[in-house]
Amino acid sequence: MFSDQIFNYTTLAYFIAMVLFISFIATKSKNVGLGGNIAAWIGFGLNTLAIGWRWYESKSLGYGHAPLSNLYESVVFFAWSILLIYLLMDIKYKQRALGAFVMPFAVLGMAWAQMMPDHSKSIQPLVPALQSNWLTYHVITCFIGYAGFAIACGASIMYLIKVGKEEKSGGANTPAGGIMSMFPSTRILDDINYKAIMIGWPMLTLGIVTGAAWANYAWGTYWSWDPKETWSLIVWFIYAAFLHARFTRGWVGRKAAWLSIIGFGATLFCYLGVNLVLSGLHSYGGG
């Protein structure tokens, strides 16, 4: 399929972007950083095109559903969402080094998708349970939420590295030099962490609500404590705790960074672990 080919180029573009962002930290060359940014935009464009093309291919096959219905499609959409939030953050903060810690998520996702066997990549018609527009709303909102958490996690990892280095080199008045000088300041990293969660959390809320609405419409219960639902709620609780700690107790810096990383771990388990490890209604695990 042609869309598979565009997905290959997407992967390549993301990989180049990642390498350039890492080189940017090492070389401190503005142009390398700009190159990374351009590659990321090209990859994002290709990713968008590929998803659109796959949708078109599904229409040509007579099915016509949005490409959000199995593991393969969800992974490439996850990569797309990560880029979406990342590029928004880049427009706002213009911190190229962040790309070195965010692009790996997109690259890993895309590479994994490329390695899946052909039968997982093929466009399958939807079984009756999935024939609903709610599927589209539900998946889009959930994944944009997950993507926000991915960016927050990337920024938090950078934060911890930077803070650790600064403390070793003896206090705040000798800002970490060397490689670390390309990192955004700890204040900005902390802010990115927070802002990304502020985008991710309402989207996850909407994802849970649309999922509940769909479940109610499809089988008459908006909540059945199935493992996937429960895990999405666990993630929701963790980030709710993060936001409250932040709003009212001023939890910033280290503690916030760790909570964000833990939250993203739970997010990944919610997305993949539940399907691969536990059993339930959401069945892409078999893939």
């Binding site: 309402p202 809320t205 609500v209 109610n216 008459g220 404590w225």
Partner: protein, 456 residues
């Protein structure tokens, strides 16, 4: 003694309002919820005994781990969550209400000192000439100001989005509304199921939960006229499960032949029917035609599965088995011919390939003309009068969160103090209840422009 008691109650109240309790409940809910995703919920005791063994089973049973989301301690956590939300709102809301309804219109130096955005300057102009300019400036650049005069000073107060302060409370209330909706659904609603064989009707459904399903009278009758499954062409992948349902109320067919498919339920009098499963009901029956090769004579049989027939040469045969879709070749029957004293001769006949059996080379050529397999349709039945309350809660939660996160109550105070020689001291302060960093930048511009405006 009384003070002791008093302080204990105070402490308890503070505890109920505290954010520590919020963080504790959120983390505990997250952590304990994991249990129910690892231990499968609502299985039979035999299954649990097999998996966990006697001792572990006993402990888990005591702790309610097999239905943990309804266990006393989990519901207790949810109750704590609700108490926390209510208490915190009771404590905070009056104060917030006051901030919004009765803002400080004539700030003193103390208030100015608490503001992180604050500026003082001196103008050569008199308070009277500045007054109009400042009012105009605030109106065009921020918001119309309220002006107060006291002790010869002139105070301006302007604010934007004061209502944003209520976003948090809308969100918190929305969670309680969702809880209320869930409770209404649990108390006044039910989840049930019913299996209806094609062509038959029922007015009773079976309630789930509890050790035994209990019957519930619908108060009307539901008939299944037909059930069908369609597959995507050339595959066994189901495309559509469809029941044709007729609802009869008081002898009147109020809904006739309504299609009920997955993701499109039928609703009548607050009771919703969802397509959920299906299966064969009773033995299928077949129309077979058998041609004698030698004479070309043809005979037709109407047989149920297992019912014996007799060929023209007197040998008995029967339909031993049936598949609706045999290896993707479509409907097929397994025929057994039973010559007395000899082994049974068995072979498969495909409905879609009537010529096929001739190749077997037997004296008799079988074909399957038609078959009838009655199906039952399995419907989930739900009545949930609380569901609308839940949706209202969800909508409020979204609206409230967006207000709480992204909208900020911004306030600006300006005080004019008359100085000697017709000069005026200008004090300028501002605050935002969210996103202070962005507001600081805004305030810097605001100051600069104001200075220019006043000097021009």
């Amino acid at each position: 003694m009384t003070t002791n008691k008093r302080s204990f109650l105070d402490a308890l109240w503070d505890f109920c309002c505290s954010l520590k309790l919020t963080l504790f409940t959120l983390i505990m809910l997250a952590a304990t919820s994991v249990i129910g995703t690892v231990i499968q919920q609502g299985r039979s005791p035999e299954e649990y005994l097999r998996v966990y063994g006697e001792n572990t089973y006993r402990i888990f049973e005591k702790l309610g781990f097999f239905d943990m989301y309804h266990s006393w301690w989990f519901l207790g956590l949810l109750a704590l969550f609700a108490v926390n939300l209510i208490a915190c709102s009771i404590k905070r809301l009056p104060r917030v209400w006051k901030t919004v309804r009765n803002p400080v219109l004539a700030p003193d130096d103390g208030l100015y000192r608490t503001l992180s955005n604050m500026e003082e300057m001196v103008s050569k102009q008199s308070p009277e000439s500045l007054r109009g300019k400042i009012a105009e400036y605030l109106k065009t650049n921020f918001a119309p100001a309220r002006v107060t005069e006291a002790d010869g000073k002139v105070h301006f107060y302007a604010e934007k989005m004061a209502w944003a302060r209520f976003g948090v409370y809308v969100t918190h209330a929305s969670i309680l509304i969702v809880f209320i909706g869930a409770i209404i659904g649990n108390v006044f609603g039910y989840k049930a199921y019913v299996n209806i064989v094609e062509g038959t009707e029922t007015s009773r459904v079976w309630k789930r939960g509890g050790s035994q399903p209990t019957p519930i009278d619908l108060g009307f009758t539901v008939r299944c006229d037909k059930f069908s499954v369609t597959y995507y062409e050339g595959t066994m992948r189901p495309k559509l499960y469809k029941s044709l349902i007729t609802v009869i109320d008081n002898g009147v067919e109020v809904k006739k032949d309504r299609e009920v498919i997955v993701n499109d339920p039928l609703k009548y009098k607050g009771i919703v029917f969802y397509q959920s499963s299906y299966g064969p009901a009773g033995d299928p029956s077949f129309v077979l035609s058998v041609t004698e090769r030698a004479t070309g004579q043809n005979q037709t049989y109407n047989l149920r599965q297992g019912q014996p027939g007799r060929l023209a040469n007197g040998l008995p045969f029967r339909v031993a088995n049936f598949a609706e879709n045999f290896q993707n070749f479509g409907p097929a029957v397994r025929i057994e011919v039973m010559p007395p004293g000899e082994p049974v001769r068995a072979f498969t006949v495909l409905k879609n390939f009537p010529q096929f059996d001739a190749q077997r080379g037997d004296d008799f050529i079988f074909s399957l003309d038609d078959f009838q397999q009655l199906q039952y349709t399995g419907l989930q039945v739900a009545k949930d009068p609380g569901v609308w309350v839940v949706w209202i809660g969800c909508i409020l939660m979204m609206v409230g969160s967006i207000i709480a996160f992204f909208m900020s109550h911004r306030r600006v105070w300006i005080t004019l103090v008359p100085l000697d020689g017709g000069k005026t001291g200008i004090k300028l302060g501002a605050a935002a209840h969210r996103n202070q960093a962005a507001f600081e930048m805004y305030f810097d511009d605001f100051k600069k422009n104001l200075k220019q405006e006043l000097n021009s």
